[in-house]
C-alpha cells in the first residue's frame, strides 16, 4: 500500500514541475525547478502543509526535492525550540547534512571517475 501511495503522490509532485516547464515561457531550466522545489517545500512545511503529504505518500513526498526543503525547515524549527537562535542556523543543515554531504562526495567521484558522453 505504501508503494502505491508513493507512486501516486511522487508522480503528482513531478507533474506539477512538468506543467511549470511546459506552460510557462521557455527559459525554465532544471536549475529553476530544483531551486523552486526546495524553497516551496521549506515554506509549505513551515506552515504545516507538507507533513500531511508525507503521512499520505511516504517516500513519494520525501524523495522529491521539496521533501529536502521540508527537512531543512523542520530541522530549523526543532533547532530553535531546543537551542534558541543558534538552532535557527544549525538545525536545518544538521538535519540535511547526510544528504548534502552524500551529494557532494558521490557527485565529485562520479564526475571524476566517468567521462562525458560524446
Amino acid at each position: 500500500m505504501s508503494i502505491i501511495m508513493a507512486f501516486i503522490i511522487g508522480g503528482s509532485i513531478c507533474v506539477i514541475g512538468q506543467l511549470f516547464m511546459d506552460l510557462t515561457k521557455p527559459g525554465i531550466t532544471s536549475g529553476h525547478i530544483l531551486v523552486g522545489y526546495i524553497t516551496a517545500g521549506a515554506f509549505l512545511s513551515a506552515v504545516g502543509l507538507y507533513q500531511p503529504l508525507i503521512d499520505l505518500g511516504g517516500a513519494g513526498a520525501t524523495i522529491p526535492l521539496s521533501g529536502f526543503g521540508h527537512t531543512l525547515a523542520q530541522g530549523a524549527i526543532q533547532g530553535v525550540e531546543s537551542e534558541g537562535i543558534l538552532g535557527a542556523f544549525s538545525g536545518g543543515v544538521a538535519a540535511t547534512a547526510g544528504g548534502i554531504t552524500a551529494a557532494i562526495v558521490f557527485g565529485y567521484f562520479a564526475a571524476v571517475l566517468f567521462n562525458p558522453k560524446k
Binding site: 517516500a59 552524500a102 566517468f114
Partner: protein, 155 residues
C-alpha cells in the same frame, strides 16, 4: 495601387502567414510529457519507498531511515548519470527525472563532468556547485528565515 494599399496587402499577407505558422508549428505535447513525468517520477519514488521500507524493517528509526534513503538515492542518481543512463531517461521523463533527489545528484554530476579539463580542483570541484549552489543557497536562506520566524513566535 498607392503605397497605402500596398502596405495593407503586406500586413494581410503577414497575418495569414503567422496564422499558418501557428497552425503547423508543433505544440509541446503537454499531456504526453505529464504522463511520462508522472510515471518516471512515481517509479523513482517507489524505489525510494522500497529502500525505506527495508531500512525500517531492519530496525532503523524513521529519521535515520529517511536520511539513509536519501543518501542511497543520491548515490544511484550520481552513478546512473556517470554511466550516461540518467540523461537518456531525462529526455523523455522531463520533470519526472529532475524533481526527485536523484535529479539533484544528476545536476551536480552533469555540470561537473564537462569541466575535467579545467582540473580536479577548480574544474570539477567548482562546477559541482553551478546548479547545487543556487539550490543550497535558497534552501539554507529559507531554513534560517523559518527558524528565526519560529524564534519570534515562541518568545
Amino acid at each position: 495601387m498607392g503605397p497605402k494599399s500596398e502596405e495593407l496587402l503586406k500586413n494581410a499577407q503577414q497575418e495569414e502567414y503567422h496564422h499558418l505558422v501557428n497552425r503547423v508549428k508543433p505544440k509541446p505535447p503537454i499531456l504526453q510529457n505529464c504522463i511520462w513525468a508522472f510515471i518516471v517520477g512515481g517509479l523513482i519514488c517507489v524505489i525510494g519507498q522500497i529502500i525505506m521500507n527495508y531500512l525500517l524493517n531492519i530496525g532503523l528509526n524513521k529519521v535515520d531511515a529517511g536520511s539513509l534513503t536519501s543518501i542511497i538515492m543520491i548515490f544511484l542518481g550520481a552513478l546512473l548519470t556517470g554511466l550516461g543512463l540518467y540523461d537518456d531517461l531525462g529526455q523523455k521523463a522531463g520533470a519526472g527525472s529532475i524533481v526527485p533527489i536523484t535529479g539533484f545528484a544528476n545536476a551536480i554530476v552533469a555540470s561537473a563532468i564537462e569541466f575535467k579539463r579545467e582540473g580536479y580542483i577548480f574544474g570539477v570541484g567548482a562546477r559541482i556547485f553551478s546548479i547545487a549552489g543556487p539550490t543550497l543557497v535558497f534552501g539554507f536562506v529559507a531554513s534560517v528565515l523559518i527558524g528565526l520566524i519560529r524564534l519570534i513566535m515562541i518568545s
